[in-house]
């Protein structure tokens, strides 16, 4: 996995709560058996005026001029500023894959849906929860100041604004450790293979009905 330590980038504010995973990446794009290439279809139904189809050249499609990411000033944004309950809905990891493929590295919101939050960390994407009033303030600043950038320091657990104001955030130690070091989760778990085996042996004795599919 790609490591994440520090990131500075342009902020795009998406002023809408309950952004669901169907919005982030609509179902017709879930048919791919790959992990990459979802970027052009990120927020497909909001971003384009026509209906998106898989395997289509999106660069030729009519853009929705009202959608925030289509505004020239947010081109190249890598920090997404969002509202509450971002990523609600399905478990599709295609959602963080699409955000990542588009170029986002950080998503800041007052709250996230559980599964989405978790899926981000598996893909080197950092979801940051900040208090609602802080998020409001960042929205105001990002909308007013063109070229507004934020600096995120995962080691120090801080978000720093261009004026030098700093906000700290919480992230659990295990996820932070994996992200900072770009660790493969599976590899970390397999270090405990012996422990898993002994748990399993014990279970075979106490709950034998859970082993061996009888049909």
């Amino acid at each position: 996995m790609r490591a994440f330590t520090q990131h500075q980038g342009l902020v795009a504010p998406m002023d809408r709560s309950n952004v669901d995973t169907d919005m982030i990446i609509p179902k017709q794009f879930l048919k791919s058996i790959k992990r990459t290439g979802f970027g052009p279809n990120l927020f497909d139904e909001l971003r384009y005026l026509d209906e998106g189809k898989p395997d289509q050249d999106s660069s030729q499609r009519p853009l929705n001029p009202d959608f925030v990411l289509n505004q020239p000033r947010y081109k190249g944004a890598s920090v997404l500023l969002a509202r509450s309950n971002f990523g609600c809905g399905s478990s599709r990891e295609h959602a963080p894959w699409a955000l990542d493929d588009y170029g986002f590295r950080v998503i800041i919101a007052p709250s996230f849906a559980d599964i989405f939050y978790n899926n981000c960390f598996k893909n080197g994407l950092l979801p940051i929860v900040l208090e609602e009033k802080v998020v409001d303030k960042l929205f105001d600043e990002a909308e007013v100041l063109e070229g507004y950038q934020l600096t995120v320091d995962l080691e120090a657990k801080t978000v720093i604004t261009p004026s030098g104001e700093s906000f700290s955030f919480d992230v659990d130690d295990f996820r932070r450790h994996c992200l900072l070091n770009g660790l493969d989760d599976i590899g970390v778990t397999l270090e405990d293979a012996e422990l898993i085996k002994s748990y399993e042996d014990q279970r075979r004795k106490t709950a034998p009905w859970l082993f061996g599919a009888s049909q």
Partner: protein, 472 residues
């Protein structure tokens, strides 16, 4: 010390390792796989040269992409080549790794969350995962069932464990007695309407109270299915006699001595009387009316006797904007009566409501009646090949066909429209599924979530009606 909740018990029984940083390794007893969220996981295993940890813990079936007509052709019947590749890929992966798969032509094929319980592959006390957020369904059996992402599918395949943080405990208690024509679906929609789509975030919800105790297993599955729409990854109901009766005699269920030992353990799977919950929500079941969602989030629901809300009366600006946006997308007027919403299509199916009881509930309503001429389509999609066979044995297919509904083959179908079944732009659909997000059932489609009985009644009337009037 306070007693344990059901969630605490399931957690403790599956804890392999508690790490110092607060995360934990939880052992997974069963993984269900389908074609959409597994290909990248199998690919990951191959790239890292890893093998599945325990093959017999896995069970697979294609469901999201399968067509609901012309199934005699098997995989060849999938017209969309991209969908076909996905279904074929699942087949190849299962063959390569030796994982049991109910393939498209197998009578046992169906929506993962229908076939798990049907086969007894879902047993009380298990930890269950699937790359699908509606895995919470299995919690109806007193299981700890999580929806997971594809990286976690790979993680569980490779290690049989999931890295988890312990969640908080929440109890949703529904007491009283449900009125006639009020179903499990109405109960869960009412709960979501009350607590909101983020109401359960970070919590494992246990559903309890008199209403749940009196509910069938299929009803409990409907409720737990939509825990995720209330923001909770996990929904659960305590094990009781109803659970044990349901599980008995199913293909994967234990027998003989193992059965006795299992039942003894299962009987302990309920929250202790002195267990403490972080959050408790109570509802009076006798006050719940048939529900209809009017907006683009499952919390946007109203009683069938009620009206679409008026954004002008909402004080919170973010909420007001949400209502305005939803009304615009849905093509509805503020204060419009729910029963004035006209429909274009009706969909009875999905992992929420495609089991035999759901189909019976709908059949009672349409029996001897005809679907309104104004509808473009009304269809019934059973949750599995076995549900279909059972319904046909009971003659439900005849009732639906005579009333003018289509009788399809099993799969997810119009729940998310990955196959050919979908809504056209601007069309209103009464749907027994679980999500009414924008575009969920087709680009520009407008979904109204309801129970099977309410969907059936809407099919007859061509607009929403209070099903209780048809049942008298």
């Amino acid at each position: 010390m306070a007693g344990k909740t059901l969630y605490d018990k399931l957690w403790d029984d599956h804890l392999v390792k508690q790490r110092e940083d607060g995360s934990a390794l939880i052992y997974i007893d069963r993984q269900l796989l389908h074609e959409v969220t597994s290909p990248q996981a199998f690919e990951g295993l191959r790239l890292a040269n890893r093998k599945p940890w325990r093959i017999d813990a896995n069970l697979a079936t294609p469901d999201h992409n399968v067509p609901t007509t012309d199934r005699a052709k098997g995989i060849e019947g999938i017209v969309d080549p991209v969908s076909r590749i996905q279904v074929e890929t699942l087949g190849k992966n299962c063959d390569e790794f030796g994982i049991l798969e109910f393939k498209i032509m197998d009578k046992r094929q169906g929506i993962v969350h229908v076939i798990g319980p049907e086969q007894g592959a879902t047993l009380p006390g298990m930890t269950i995962v699937c790359g699908d957020s509606h895995t919470s369904t299995h919690g109806a059996f007193g299981c700890l069932a999580h929806g997971i992402g594809t990286s976690e599918v790979e993680h569980v395949l490779a290690t049989q464990c999931l890295v988890q943080q312990k969640m908080k405990n929440m109890l949703v208690k529904v007491d009283g007695k449900l009125g006639k024509g009020v179903t499990a679906k109405d109960v869960v929609l009412a709960i979501i309407g009350k607590i909101g789509t983020a109401g359960g975030t970070g919590h494992a919800i246990e559903f309890g109270g008199e209403v749940l105790q009196n509910m069938s297993m299929e009803g409990r599955m409907t409720v737990c299915n939509m825990a995720i729409e209330a923001g909770a990854r996990v929904g659960m109901v305590a094990v009781d006699g109803t659970t044990i009766d349901y599980v008995k005699g199913r293909p994967f269920s234990p027998t003989g001595e193992n059965w006795d030992a299992a039942v003894k353990y299962w009987r302990t799977l309920h929250s202790d009387l002195d267990a403490v919950f972080d959050k408790v929500v109570e509802l009076d079941g006798s006050e719940i009316k048939p529900q209809v969602s009017w907006g683009t989030s499952p919390e946007m629901v109203a009683d069938v006797t009620g009206n679409v809300p008026d954004p002008a009366k909402e004080e919170d600006p973010i909420k007001r904007e949400g209502i305005e946006r939803a009304l615009k997308y849905m093509g509805l007027q503020a204060n419009q009566a729910i029963t004035d919403i006209k429909l274009d299509r009706v969909f009875i199916g999905s992992c929420t409501n495609s089991r035999i009881e759901d189909l019976r509930e709908a059949a009672v309503v349409v029996k001897g009646r005809k679907v309104a001429d104004s509808l473009k389509q009304a269809m019934v999609v059973p949750g599995s090949g076995l549900v279909k066979a059972q319904a046909e044995e009971e003659g439900l297919d005849r009732i639906f066909l005579e009333a003018g509904l289509e009788w399809r083959d099993p799969g997810c179908s119009m729940c998310l429209a990955m196959n050919a079944d979908k809504l056209g732009q601007g069309e209103h659909c009464a749907s027994t599924s679980n999500r009414n997000f924008e575009g969920r059932q087709g680009f520009g489609g407008r979904t109204h979530l309801v129970s099977p009985a309410m969907a059936a009644a809407a099919a007859i009337a061509g607009h929403f009606v209070d099903v209780r009037e048809l049942l008298n």
